[in-house]
């Protein structure tokens, strides 16, 4: 029988029961690779309930640093009887099944093209612990020990991690370490050479950090100066607001008075969240909300008001798969159009597409600056894959010289000096007017904020000319936005390429890996990572300099492509969509296969044309 043999390059999948305490054991397993200098990319696959339903944790061990989902499974740690059949089926031929063999299972439950590794986990746990909860929790640590023993994870590394986790809680430290060694020793004794997946210390992690995108974005909001956060719980964005709360209580409490330099309101719904954020932005505080697709739908009326009334608002959309429950705990990039054109009337909004937690941090702070500078709603478009999984990425950076860009705010002094104030007047030719904060000056600079019916001085007007002036100015402002948003990043092929590929957001790691794989097959593709909307001219130029450009997206309707055609005037005939939308993160295998097939089809010259020539 074939036997998968691999060093530092494999996929392990844990099948657990939600709420069984497996999460921290699995994380311990994943982190141990990092400490040995080997990149890992773990992903939670979880249902939308708290206890009892199946949950999976997939760890890709990848010395080459390919952090996208690989697909396939080399080792299944099957700890959930409920999903047994499905889990066994998923293992690649020649792969491994690790399971608890305390109770014997009939032969029919297995496959004959995989290697089965049994260990009496329950028996060991029951023999060593009396308490039911302890038996469950330590069983998890015992299997981590066994895996470490079989793979060759250095026990010192685990000891170090456990030590950090239970620092100051010595009572918990020892029993955890004991459980780990119990597993390790049992495996060394009974499971020698059972597993062909091995670990060898490497040097591919460097100074990288391991963090969830939601936490990084929350920290970006702290660094970017957000003081007001209003939100309504929704997966996969809730942990962002919760992280903001956590970081603020550490970093934003005044040491002298003990008072908070932040206000977080868990609102009654998304209508109220966006309303609170709009009110705070109107009044000069930096404010943001975090939500997902259904929340954006509810917020759209306010988004239109903020667009027309020109109020800074930062929205973080951690995208998921559509309405209701179920797919919502799966990832997608399917709110692009909903956000780009959110609301009634002629509106278009600024969107930023971070590729990983590092950019979630950076772009969150950028969004707060852009919202103030452009006086408009700005969207940070992340997704579940980036948001709710720990991802290895470059360290977060902040320059202490950096100043918040508060945009064009007219102060009492400026008004006093007699500077002309027209709230909706374009004075600099960039479409951006000055604003005043309420309460600035006793007699100058007050204005009445409303939607569309106004002249450049914010006086009520239903005159067509005033409306057109304003709408044209908003377009001008959109042009200005192009010069301010993050530029696209070019990933040039190693050889001259006829084909291009445009991608964005969480597709990034899978795309990089696919580009390497394609190049290995002799298919060279220049790639451009779009990082924001409105689109800069570079994107146009990129499309024009290639015969065909693939647009890789994680949605059904080719939403970014639609936006490229609509807003950058790109000929749809020059774009070919590669779409992945089953709720799992896109893989390099998928992208490679799709592109390779299309390229080979395009390369076959039609016979007819040959004859005609």
């Amino acid at each position: 029988m074939k036997r998968i043999e691999a060093v530092n390059d494999f996929v392990v999948k844990f099948a657990n029961v939600n709420g069984s305490g497996s999460a921290s054991a699995n994380e311990l397993f994943a982190k141990s690779f990092l400490r040995m200098g080997i990149p890992v990319s773990p992903r939670n696959i979880f249902p939308s309930n708290i206890q009892g339903l199946p949950t999976w944790y997939e760890v890709r061990v990848t010395e080459s640093g390919y952090l996208g989902r690989r697909g396939g499974c080399d080792l299944m740690v099957a700890m959930n009887p409920q999903t047994w059949a499905q889990d066994v089926k998923e293992i690649d031929p020649g792969g491994y099944l690790f399971y608890d063999n305390t109770k014997p299972l009939p032969q029919s439950k297995f496959r004959d093209d995989i290697h089965v590794i049994g260990m009496p986990l329950t028996e060991i746990a029951n023999a060593n612990y009396a308490d039911a909860r302890e038996r469950q929790l330590f069983k998890n640590i015992i299997y981590v020990g066994a895996l470490a023993g079989m793979m060759g994870i250095e026990p010192e590394v685990i000891a170090e991690l456990v030590g950090e986790q239970y620092k100051g809680k010595e009572k918990l430290l020892k029993p955890n370490l004991n459980a780990f060694h119990m597993g390790l020793n049992w495996a060394k004794e009974h499971l020698k050479d059972a597993l062909g997946l091995k670990v060898r210390r490497a040097d591919s992690v460097g100074d990288k950090i391991f963090i969830e995108g939601n936490a990084a974005a929350a920290l970006g909001c702290v660094y970017g100066g957000a003081t007001v956060c209003a939100w309504y719980p929704i997966t996969p964005s809730s942990s962002l607001a919760e992280a903001f709360q956590r970081y603020c209580s550490k970093l934003r409490v005044d040491p002298v008075t003990g008072k908070n330099k932040f206000a977080i309101v868990q609102a009654e719904d998304e209508l109220a969240s966006i309303g609170i954020v709009t009110g705070a932005g109107w009044n000069g505080a930096r404010a943001f909300t975090a939500t997902s697709g259904p929340g954006i739908s509810l917020m759209t009326e306010f988004i239109g008001l903020a667009y027309f009334a020109e109020i800074p608002v930062t929205l973080i959309d951690v995208q998921r798969g559509g309405p209701s429950t179920g797919m919502p705990t799966r990832t997608q990039q399917s709110d692009i159009l909903a956000c780009a054109y959110a609301s009634h009337g002629d509106t278009k909004h600024v969107l930023l597409f971070p590729e990983d937690p590092h950019e979630c941090f950076e772009f969150a702070a950028t969004c707060l600056d852009l919202a103030d500078r452009l006086q408009t709603p700005v969207f940070l478009m992340t997704d579940l894959d980036i948001g709710m999984n720990q991802r290895l990425c470059s360290p977060l950076v902040w320059d202490d010289e950096r100043r918040y860009d508060r945009g064009k705010v007219m102060s009492a002094e400026m008004l006093e000096e007699g500077k002309e104030f027209g709230r909706y007047l374009d004075v600099d030719g960039d479409g951006i007017p000055y604003r005043t904060y309420p309460g600035t000056h006793p007699t100058k600079g007050a204005y009445f904020t409303r939607g569309t019916s106004k002249n450049p001085y914010a006086i009520y007007s239903e005159a067509g000319a005033d409306y057109v002036y304003n709408m044209q100015r908003l377009l001008e402002k959109h042009e200005t936005a192009k010069t301010l948003v993050p530029k696209p990043q070019l990933i040039p092929a190693k050889q001259p390429a006829r084909f291009g590929a445009i991608f964005y957001g969480s597709t990034s790691p899978a795309m990089h890996e696919a580009l390497d794989a394609l190049a290995w097959q002799g298919i060279f593709v220049n790639a451009l990572r779009v990082r924001a909307f409105p689109f800069q001219d570079e994107i146009n130029d990129f499309v024009h300099s290639h015969t065909k450009v693939f647009v890789i997206e994680q949605n059904r309707d080719a939403q970014l492509k639609t936006l490229l055609v609509n807003e950058a005037g790109i000929n749809p005939a020059s774009l070919i969509s590669i779409l992945h939308y089953d709720g799992t993160p896109i893989t390099a295998r998928f992208i490679t296969k799709e592109i390779a097939e299309i390229v080979s089809a395009l390369n076959i010259r039609p016979i007819k044309r040959d004859k005609a020539a």
Binding site: L34, T257, G258, K259, E301, L305, Y437
Partner: protein, 351 residues
């Protein structure tokens, strides 16, 4: 709706308040509401209250929803910032504005459609949160701006102008505000400036969620026989529980009322709300009693007006959230940004 340009009111003597402002300084644009609309009288009472309190006009932020009532903030306090938000959602915008700068006075203006129909959720929650504000609901029982449809405060059995009879039961906004946790709740009538002005003054002094439901007849769509929000109906059925005097500071009090009929409620800022009780068993600091009283009066077909409830120990949202004293919109990098050194430490903890 008519758009007759009305002349500015000329006050013959133009008396000045403590700050040297005349009432003129508290006015806004000329109203475009129908002549005789109750909402204009409420604007006049607001101007009077602000002038008497000698509030600096620009220190007030006016927020409203959508409706004829919600248009009125353009017609007073022309030197204040105003925000005509979206229909029914003023409370959330006011909440955010208040969080951004706790130093201003927040005035919310809404209609019955705005607050009791589309916005009932936000109405309830803003009271629960105790946002420090004065929330005026200009209650005419109809949608004025969309031309006369029933609103959710229209009484069951009341007749629309075109003859339709309302079959749904009415939402009583003062009871709702009380249940939701508002700490100052009053009701008045747009035609009773004497009662309304001190109620507004005391509401502004109150540090918490202050709510005043003002019955405000719509002359265009709800001032006919059969309407329970008409001038005639309210005048006939108005039952005041108390008369209110408002004293801006403790020192100013001169006691010249008979003891038994007077109740004093001190406010945070040292000011005093002094009530002359018309109804001998009415205690406005007793919330449960207030709820019962309103229900009893309503059963008798009376419109209970006056200060219905005030909690002297009210707390506001900033207290609940333990927020910093300085307005958030004044905080800078040095106050808000933990800096690169701290980020290094955070990075180190993520390896």
């Amino acid at each position: 709706m008519t758009y007759i340009l009305k002349p500015r009111l000329h006050h013959p003597t133009l008396p000045k308040n403590k700050l040297g402002f005349t009432r003129r300084d508290y006015e806004g644009k000329v109203s475009t509401l129908c002549a005789g609309c109750g909402h204009d009288s409420i604007s006049a009472a607001l101007i009077e209250a602000m002038w008497e309190l000698a509030i600096e006009p620009h220190r007030v932020a006016k927020l409203s929803g959508i409706g004829c009532s919600s248009k009125t903030p353009d017609y007073f306090l022309g030197n204040s910032h105003g925000f005509n938000t979206v229909h029914g959602r003023m409370p959330s915008v006011l909440t955010g504005a208040n969080l951004a700068n706790r130093d201003l006075i927040y005035l919310g203006v809404s209609g019955d459609g705005d607050s009791a129909s589309i916005g009932i959720g936000q109405f309830a929650h803003v009271m629960r949160r105790g946002v420090n504000m004065t929330y005026i609901l200009e209650n005419n029982g109809v949608y004025g701006l969309t031309k006369g449809q029933f609103s959710a405060t229209a009484d069951r059995g009341s007749k629309a102008k075109k003859g339709a009879v309302n079959q749904d039961s009415a939402i009583d906004t003062v009871s709702l505000a009380l249940i939701m946790g508002a700490t100052y709740v009053a009701r008045s009538f747009s035609g009773d400036k004497k009662q309304l002005t001190p109620l507004i003054k005391a509401a502004i002094a109150h540090e918490g969620a202050a709510f005043i439901d003002v019955i405000s007849p719509c002359v265009a769509f709800n001032n006919h026989p059969g309407s329970t929000k008409s001038y005639d109906y309210v005048r006939e059925h108005n039952e005041a529980v108390n008369r209110l005097d408002f004293w801006p500071s403790r020192e100013a009090i001169t006691v010249d009322y008979s003891e038994g009929g007077v109740i004093e409620v001190p406010q945070h800022d040292g000011s005093i709300v002094r009530l002359r009780k018309l109804d001998s068993d009415y205690d406005p600091t007793d919330r449960i009693n207030a709820i019962t009283h309103i229900a009893q009066a309503s059963a008798k077909g009376e419109v209970l007006t006056g200060l219905l409830y005030v909690a002297p120990d009210a707390e506001d949202l900033h207290a609940h959230l333990n927020t910093y004293e300085m307005a958030f919109n004044k905080l800078e990098e040095k106050d808000l940004c933990p800096g690169a050194g701290m980020l290094e430490k955070i990075n180190a903890g993520l390896r």
